[in-house]
Symmetry: C2
Subunit: 124 residues, 2 copies
DNA sequence: ATAAGTGTATTAAGAGAGTTAATACACTCT
DNA sequence: AGAGTGTATTAACTCTCTTAATACACTTAT
């Protein structure tokens, strides 16, 4: 299900989180389908089950998975994480923007950049 | 010139940077005036000169100081750091904003928040 | 020229946080 | 009861970051 990159010097659990996030966001994992057990994936990646658990915990906190103790971990519906992600980004954006204002950036500068960014983002 | 807070668990050089930044930004240190030597301030704070040097280096990179080897470090004019600070914030802002777009935030949402933030910021 | 003052470079020691593993526990289903 | 699941606790390990020790290089004044 996942392949580790040993040249990548980030911690293992972080790689696992990132790859699973992408799989889930990309729709490759069906909602409510069962994830491999922490032990199974631990064997698969030649890594301690706790490492997988740590990844699952983070994914759960972010709304990508939900867990039923004794049964397993499952893919959460998109509604669970999409809103959380927006909220988190909005909070971060507000902080940075406040900092930018204090550094002397004008509203007009940011408006213009906003236009640019959303212009580039249009794929049509 | 500076007092260390030993309950603060951040590294010493970071505390020094922060306090000197504030002094300079607040206009307490005259432009082109000479800073204490790394050794003098090292003695003053009971710390290795290298620690002070590290702080000075960072302050120099951010435009708060300029250094003449063999002569000393000096307070840079405001024009040096104000621009650098803006540039840095702008870069950060762009990155976060791009992330926010990808998370699904609309341009309109951000425009509205921008208005709010600059509204709050008006002190009149 | 020499001495005292300055910043700089290199290296190593030390501390600390973060990651991973070992192991035992608790829950669910058949 | 047994096999499968997640969970909690603890400890070892690793690695980065901070700080210090020390030697070097430049500037100025005597």
């Amino acid at each position: 299900m996942i392949l580790l990159d040993y040249r990548d010097k980030r911690p293992i659990y972080e790689q696992v989180v990132e790859k699973l996030e992408k799989l889930i966001m990309g729709g490759a994992l069906e909602t409510d389908s069962k994830m491999p057990s922490v032990r199974a994936m631990g064997v698969d990646l030649a890594v301690n089950p706790n490492t997988i658990q740590r990844a699952y915990n983070q994914l759960e906190k972010e709304g990508y998975l939900y867990t039923i103790s004794g049964r397993g971990s499952f893919v959460a519906p998109e509604s669970e994480w999409r809103e959380g992600k927006k909220k988190k980004m909005l909070e971060e954006w507000r902080l940075v923007t406040e900092g930018a204002r204090e550094a002397g950036l004008t509203k007009e500068q940011m408006m213009e950049l906003l236009e640019q960014i959303y212009e580039e983002g249009r794929h049509d």
